[in-house]
Amino acid sequence: MSVNALTFRRLPQLPVWVINLALTAILAGLWPLGRVLEHQLNPYFLQILILVGINIMLAVSLNLVNGITGQFSLGHAGFMAVGAYAAGVLLRHYQPQGWEIPLVMLGVLCLGGVLAALAGLVVGIPTLRLQGDYLAIATLGFGEIINVVIINTESVGSFYVGGSAGLHGIPIHANFFWTFGAALICIVCVWRLAYSNKGKAFAAIREDEIAAGAMGVNTTYYKVAAFAIGAFFAGVAGGVSATWFGNLDPESFRFMRSIEIVAMVVLGGSGSITGAILAAVVLTWLPEQLRAVQEWRLVIYALVLILMMIFRPAGLLGNRELWPIPGRRRPGPSPTADPDSRQRMMA
């Protein structure tokens, strides 16, 4: 066996229970860290920080669908809306108090995620037969349908939804802990899915769906799974944002929001999880800095994307991560310089 083969086999380093314990500790540590930050940071900066967390969740989960599995979805904001309204409506209705709050928060965020995942199944099963542009249009249509449904729903039974006026007066329980706790779980899930033997099937579908099928990958199952898992975390992100802002505006979940999330995935480099995180930070922070020159905001935002298309068409990180991972080596010629991958990006 070659040296090469031996070195990468030794890479799995820490025992899994140590990693899992460390991740649990970090998750628990987010609570005191959040309390400190909430006291120390000025409210404006904290607001941006929470938005960064929400956008990280959205970008990383969409990356599983668009970047890793290669199914171009433009409906992510729609799934976010499902989770946001589920959490918002329930919290506003039940108004949990005292010790109930953490339990109810956990419950509504998960429920929002599950409902969004169900919406993902309903949309995914018929539309994932479609390819490329057709899939993009079908998912875009789904996002718009969700918007229309919400606008025309005043209430469901005794639950007030708000219709076109939006939903106001949602109790505010989200904080640093909930936002980044959910983001951490999302990142770990997508990471472990992407870089495991099982998860290689997602990337195989992106690379060549026919070959993936011929090699025994149930392509429909994996595509729908990617869609549902992505939708789940979009729903959770929506739930967090509902109870952070306290208001929901159905217009804020339309396709411009989906485009924003797609832009994060593309800027980070389709398929790169750390790239999506990086891009979520940049594309949340940057527009906030540009609020002073409000009129030019969209122009500058667009310029960033155009410059990226010219100088780094595969995104900031291409399909790599910030650090090398077992089973992959940085390829000699960069994918950016390769006309094939450029074409794939454009397609």
């Binding site: 066996m1 495991s196 033997n197 990337a203 195989a204 011929a214 025994g216 991958s341």
Partner: protein
């Protein structure tokens, strides 16, 4: 009962009879060839057997059970793996990852197992990694394990496709023009490799190949197709002597 039994297989595309009453049997450890001029319907035959197209008529049986109407991945699970005439690797993934995809169907843990990294997940991932490395060294590709597949030289790409197909643990291996684009030296190596795979993995191999020298030297039996019709069946000697074959195929410059 044969390992693979194909009877009266036909397919029509629009008005074109791309394949007409095709018959074949393949036993374990056998190596049979499928030859014929361009456009004869050879790749189409593979596509039907692997579930890419549905036949208009006829039956394909693996271990005595019909596989007609199954999806490609189901047919692969039953034990048929293939390579493609125009290479279809997972081009942007590493050589090792390409082979690991082939092991996907052997995994017995779900997404939750992957996310929580359960002992079963760890065991299966490690075992498959070891198997993948072993398979790659069997095919002489282990030095390239970490390379991105589309950076490989052409011949290595063809061998990687075979490695990936073998990872799915097939009973029958379909090779669609594996020597296309290879130089004479590589072709000699390839025929050695195919022979080695046949013995070592105990698979039945069904081979489409244009290089007559290669086909004649390694195949035990041959089927000759022309315009979707079987025009000759038999040993390489019988086929070579068949006047219709000379007319349809051998007479033509290849």
């Amino acid at each position: 009962m044969s390992l693979l039994e194909i009877s009266n297989l036909s397919v029509v595309f629009g008005g074109l009879k791309a394949l007409c009453d095709f018959d074949l049997t393949l036993e374990q450890g056998e190596l049979v060839g499928l030859i014929g001029p361009n456009g004869a319907g050879k790749t189409t035959t593979f596509n039907i057997v692997t579930g890419v197209y549905r036949p208009t008529a006829g039956d394909v049986r693996l271990d005595g059970r019909s596989i007609v109407g199954f999806k490609p991945h189901q047919i692969n699970h039953r034990g048929i793996a293939r390579t493609f005439q125009n290479i279809r690797l997972f081009a942007g993934m590493s050589v090792l990852d390409n082979v690991l995809v082939g092991f996907n169907q052997s995994l017995r843990h779900g997404f939750a197992g992957t996310v929580f990294r359960t002992p079963r997940h760890q065991h299966e991932d490690q075992r498959n990694q070891d198997r993948a490395v072993e398979l790659l060294s069997t095919l002489g590709l282990d030095d390239r394990a970490m390379e991105i597949a589309h950076n490989l030289p052409y011949g290595d790409q063809r061998r990687l496709e075979i490695a990936r197909a073998l990872a799915t643990n097939p009973k029958v291996l379909l090779l669609d023009e594996p020597a296309a684009g290879m130089n004479p030296q590589e072709k000699i190596e390839l025929s050695g490799l195919i022979e080695m795979i046949r013995q070592r993995f105990g698979v039945g191999i069904w081979l489409i190949e244009h290089d007559m020298k290669l086909v004649m030297s390694i195949c035990q039996r041959l089927t000759v197709l022309d315009h979707g019709q079987v025009i000759a069946v038999g040993t390489p000697e019988q086929v070579r002597a068949d006047p219709r074959v000379c007319e349809a195929y051998l007479g033509e410059p290849t």
